[in-house]
Each structure stands twice: as C-alpha cells, then as structure tokens.
C-alpha cells in the first residue's frame, strides 16, 4: 500500500505538464540517438548536463533517464535493419533481428523489439518501485569473487552460441578475450599488446569491434555475393502484426528475460549489454527450437530486447539507493545529479522523494510514450530497406564510420573498424561464429580483472572463489550448464541401448 501511495505521489510529479514534456523530449531524443550507431547515451547525457543544470532536479533526472532508456529502446532499430548495433546493449538483438529483416520480416522484428522493450521496461520499473531499497544489499553483495563467477557463467554461453563447430566457436571466444585485454592493465598499469601506440592504451572500444564484425563485414559479404538485388524481396518490411501463437511463444522469453535483465542491471558493472547476452543465451538453451536461434527466431529478438531495457532500469537501483554508478552512463547521471545538488545514496529516497518517485513514475509514462512513438514509426523507418542496394550499402558504411568517429574522434579507430570488418568477413567465409567473439570481448577483461582483484584481496588464495556462497553457487551453475548437454546425451544413449 505504501508503495502505491508513493507511486501516486510520484505520478503527481511526473504528470505535471512540464515533466510530461520532458519525458517526451527525453525518450524522443533517446530513440534517435540510439538509432545512430556510435552516438551513445553516454555522450548525449554528458552534453546535456549544462541544460539540466538550472532545472528542478526531478525534471532534470526525468529528462535524462528518458534519454537513457529511450536510447536502449531505439538501439534495436539499426541492429535489426542494418546489422549495425546502435548502442552496445543491442548487439544481441542483431543475432536474430537481422536475419528476420533479411527474410522480409523487418516489420515484425521491429514490432517484437518494441513490445519486448516495453514489457522489459515496465516490469523492471515495477521491481524498481517495490524492491529498490532491499536490492541495494544485493548490489553490494557482489564483490570480486562473485563477479568472476558471474563472468564464468556468462562465458559458458559460448558453447550454445557456437552453432556448427564448437572448436571454431571456442577459437572465436579466445580471440575475443585477446582483444578485450589490449591496453593498460588496470591491476598493474602495465601496457599489453599496445605496440607502443597511445591509441591502444585505453583498449579497443567494444562498438568498434561490433560495428566492424557485424555491419561492415555484412557489407563486404554482400559485395562479395554480387551485390545484386536477389536477396532483397520487394515490400521487404512485411507485416507488423503478431499472431496469437507468436505472442504466446515470446511471452515466456520476454517475462524471464525481463527479470534476468533487471537483476543483471542491479549489479554495478554488469548492465544492459551483459543482460541482453545472458537473456539471449538462456532462451537459446531453454528453447526446444534453440538451434534455429541466429536464423531469425522471434524469441531471439524478444529475449535480448526485454533484457536490455530491464537492465537499463535496473541500473538505477545502485545509482539511486547507493549513489554508486554501475556503468559509464549512470556515472554521467550521477555527475548530473551532483551538479543539481542531489546526493544519491541510502538517504535519498527519504530526503528527496520527489526525485525518486517522480522518476519511477515517469518511467511508466516514458515506456508508454516509447511504444506509441515507435510502433507507427516502424513502417516509415523500415523503408530504409527499400533504398536501392548501392545507396543502402554506402549509407551503412557512412553510418558505421560516423558512429566510430563520434565515439573517439580518432582516425586510428576508423582504420581499426576496417580491420575488424575484414576479420569479420573472413570469419563468415570460414564458418567462425561472431557471437562468441563479441560475448568474450565483453566478459573477458571483466573476468580477468575480478579474478585478479579477488586474488589480490585473498593474498593469492584461490579458495576465495569457493568460500563465498554466491560465487560457489554461480560456479556450480556454470559447471552444470556445461555438463548438462553431455549428460543428457549419455542418458538418451543409455535409453536407446537398453
């Protein structure tokens, strides 16, 4: 009941005309920023700090939060249509979203993404409202050993993501980890594999690799296949409507991934990207038709989209209840809150209920806006696929390059993008799956970092990973998920044998 009263109070704030305008402006700007590869929410929010400076804190946060979840919402569009993830959190969406678009189901894929995002966003706001103060305990209970175990669990998904050849999938994953550790090693300050180049000191940006291996490689592949119009059926958008069985089919994945995504988001440092991968690989393992993931399975679009939006909302838990940013984006938000004179922390909900409940209520409104805004736009945006093939190809190239340049303003990164495009083309031609590489790239350095941090704390005692209950449990799940398919196979064989 108390939550209800608080929520009503929050709606009182969020429904003020000026705040409705801010929610709308925020989610609208966010959608656009999300669609453009490279223009991520981080830089957008950093640039908005001066604008929000003079605003009422609740309005300022309502606006900025809108940009953040709006960007995650909008990021799926370019993942699905162009295989060019707009923000890091939507890379997993392209695994099945892009194949769907190629089959002429772009409209359906975008609609599923919109519905799933909406559900993921809304479910997680409910969680945020009901359990945020309790969850701050969960967030701090994850120390270095627990993160290490979580990363190991995440990496076991490589097995399910490598469809044809396990060896090739593992090779891709190892290379992904190799890319992730380039740069200054945070644990020692030592340079690794930088070859003396200052451009590599901060490592290789995730989006440079993702845009190269997915979008640019796809362009090269199309060029190699003759570039003719044989793959692009006319009226390529298809219907937006979902049939009842399809609705029923994605209901489970969306529900599970919303919850999973939210809890991933609550953990500082995990966030939307990891959440969407975990959601995707979980559904791939659970699904009876798991082997059709990657070929345009609707569940493969629904799961990561629900998860990444839920994780985005989840990341507000550590930010608002602990005053601790869990990601680069929430770090900028924290900075903005400080500028507005708000100190997020354990006392904030009591001291500034207007900010906390106002933002929570605005998220309900924002998610509805996003759905209403995006659904009618789908046929319009998907028209991009009707462009003549030559024009479409050069537009994708331009978008990738502007995106990468906008990330770092570095010519060097443009050349890296080209390099990864060629690597991606090679991987495609020789049957190496790209998803394990991307997954390992995200998790690899986090895994190494948390492992070494844990050992530094324990003074080199490896037992620390087994003494902590959460870490032990996660490692056990990881072991089980690796061995389960083998056991299943053996059991089956025994049944046949007898």
């Amino acid at each position: 009941m108390e939550a209800f009263n608080n929520l009503m109070y929050g709606f009182g704030i969020a429904l003020e005309p000026i705040n409705i305008a801010y929610v709308f402006a925020g989610v609208f700007a966010g959608t656009i920023i999300g669609m453009l590869p490279g223009l991520g929410p981080i830089s957008a929010l950093a640039l908005m700090i001066p604008i929000t400076f003079s605003m009422e804190p609740s309005s300022g946060l309502i606006l900025m939060a809108g940009v953040y979840y709006g960007a995650i919402f909008g990021g799926s569009t370019s993942s699905i249509l162009l295989n060019a993830p707009g923000v890091a959190g939507t890379v997993a969406t392209s695994f099945d979203g892009y194949p769907m678009a190629k089959k002429g189901l772009a409209g359906k894929a975008l609609a599923i993404a919109a519905y799933s995002s909406f559900v993921g966003g809304t479910v997680s706001v409910i969680f945020l409202m009901l359990v945020a103060p309790l969850l701050s305990k969960v967030a701090v209970s994850f120390g270095p050993p627990e993160y290490f175990a979580l990363m190991v669990l995440g990496l076991t998904a490589v097995v399910s993501l490598s469809d044809k050849s396990l060896v090739k999938g593992l090779i891709a994953a190892v290379i992904g980890v190799m890319i992730s550790i380039v740069g200054i090693d945070l644990q020692t300050g030592t340079e690794r594999f930088t070859f003396g180049s200052a451009h590599l000191l901060d490592g290789i940006d995730f989006l440079v690799v993702a845009l190269g291996i997915f979008a640019l490689a796809e362009v090269f592949y199309m060029l190699l296949r003759g570039g003719g119009g044989k793959e692009a059926p006319r009226n390529a958008i298809g219907s937006l409507k979902l049939s009842r069985p399809e609705m029923r089919e994605i209901a489970g994945p969306v529900g599970r991934s919303s919850v999973l995504g939210f809890f991933t988001g609550v953990l500082p440092g995990a966030g939307a990207t990891i959440g969407s991968f975990l959601g995707y690989s979980m559904e791939k393992r659970i699904a009876k038709d798991g082997d059709t993931f990657g070929q345009g399975n609707i569940k493969g679009v629904a799961a990561p989209e629900a998860a990444n939006n839920a994780a985005c909302t989840g990341s507000f838990v550590p930010l608002l209840t602990l005053g601790v940013p869990g990601s680069g984006t929430t770090a900028v938000l924290l900075g903005a809150l400080l500028v507005m004179g708000i100190n997020p922390g354990p006392m904030m909900i009591e001291q500034r209920p207007d900010v906390f409940w106002g933002v929570v209520a605005s998220m309900y409104i924002g998610n509805i806006f996003l759905l209403v805004l995006n659904l009618p736009l789908i046929p319009l945006i998907a028209k991009i696929l009707d462009l003549p093939r030559p024009l479409l190809l050069s537009m994708i190239l331009i978008f990738c390059m502007i995106g990468v340049y906008g990330l770092s303003f570095s010519v060097f990164d443009l050349l890296l993008l080209l390099g990864f495009g060629l690597i991606g083309l090679g991987m495609r031609l020789f049957g190496f799956p790209a998803a394990p590489l991307i997954l390992a790239l995200i998790l690899g350095d986090l895994m190494e970092e948390s492992m070494r941090r844990a050992l530094q704390i324990s003074g080199g005692d490896w037992g620390i990973f087994l003494e902590k209950p959460i870490s032990l449990a996660l490692l056990a799940v990881a072991l089980f998920s690796l061995s389960a398919p083998v056991i299943k196979k053996r059991l089956k064989r025994e049944v046949i044998d007898t």
Partner: protein, 160 residues
C-alpha cells in the same frame, strides 16, 4: 602429401598466430610489486589455449561449404575492379582513404565524397538522387552532432 583442407590450413595460420602471440605475451613486463597473478598470466594462458584449439581444428572435418558461399562464377567476367573481390578491395581502400582524408578535407566533404563515390561505384546511375540522399544524410548527421549535441567535427577546407 595430400593437399590441406580448409580447416587444416586455417589451423596452421592460427597456430602461427598463437606462437606469435605467446612471443609477445612473454614480453609483458613483470610488475615491481608482488601480485598473485601478474599481467602476463592471462595472455600466456590464452596463447596456449588458442594453440591447443588450432590443433583440434586441424583434425576436425571441414563442414561441406554451401555452394552459394563461393562467388567463383562471377570472378571470371569483367576487370578486377568490378569483380566481387575487387569490390571488397576497393571499398576497403576507400574506407582507408576516408579515414586519412577526414581531417584535412573536413567531415562534410569527405563523407559526401565517400557516399556519392561508393554509390556510383556500386552501379547506381541516378546521380541526382544519389547526390541528394548522400548530402542530406551527411548534412543531417553533421548538424545533429555539431549543433544539437555540441560535438566537434573537423571542418577542413569548407567553412563549416
């Protein structure tokens, strides 16, 4: 000696790469303060895993390549720069040229040139539409980034 199959020569390349990688891994300097696990351990382990996996790959039977994956039939006709591989090579060169010319020429000019040029090269002949589409996308992005988002982009030879 029989001819190596695809997996086998890929394995050889990867093995060579992992040896090279291990060579660099051994050059990662040790940290002066005691660390239970220093910066060099992970790279070394990764190098060995990759070497081991490439041995496994050597003995894996290659999957039957889908016929459509081989763009052979198209390679015979026309000059190299119009062949499928020629397209990939020229596009790569264009991207590299773009990267190097972006700052001297400025964002708007370089991007428009790349977009119009590649579209033309890929065989689109309606020049006015090409120019209009390229210019509007490039200018739109430029204005969005510089005016709305306040991001600095190189202006180059044009005054904006």
């Amino acid at each position: 000696m029989t001819r190596l199959n695809t997996n086998q020569w890929l394995a050889v390349v990867l093995l060579a790469f992992s040896v090279l990688y291990l060579g660099f891994a051994w050059q990662v300097p040790a940290f002066p303060l005691p660390r239970p696990v220093d910066s060099d351990l992970f790279p070394k382990v990764l190098g060995f895993i990759l070497a081991f996996l490439s041995v496994l790959l050597f003995f894996e039977k290659p999957a039957i390549q889908e016929a459509s994956d081989e763009p052979e039939d198209a390679t015979q006709q026309g000059p190299f720069w119009l062949s499928p591989w020629g397209r990939v090579v020229i596009t790569s060169l264009a991207i590299a040229a773009y990267a190097l010319l972006l700052v001297p020429l400025g964002f708007v000019l370089a991007s428009t040139l790349l977009s119009v040029g590649l579209t033309l090269y890929y065989g689109y002949r309606r020049h006015s539409i090409n120019l209009a589409a390229s210019l509007s996308v490039v200018l739109g992005l430029y204005l969005l980034m510089t005016k709305v988002m306040d991001v600095y982009l190189p202006t180059g030879v044009l005054p904006f």
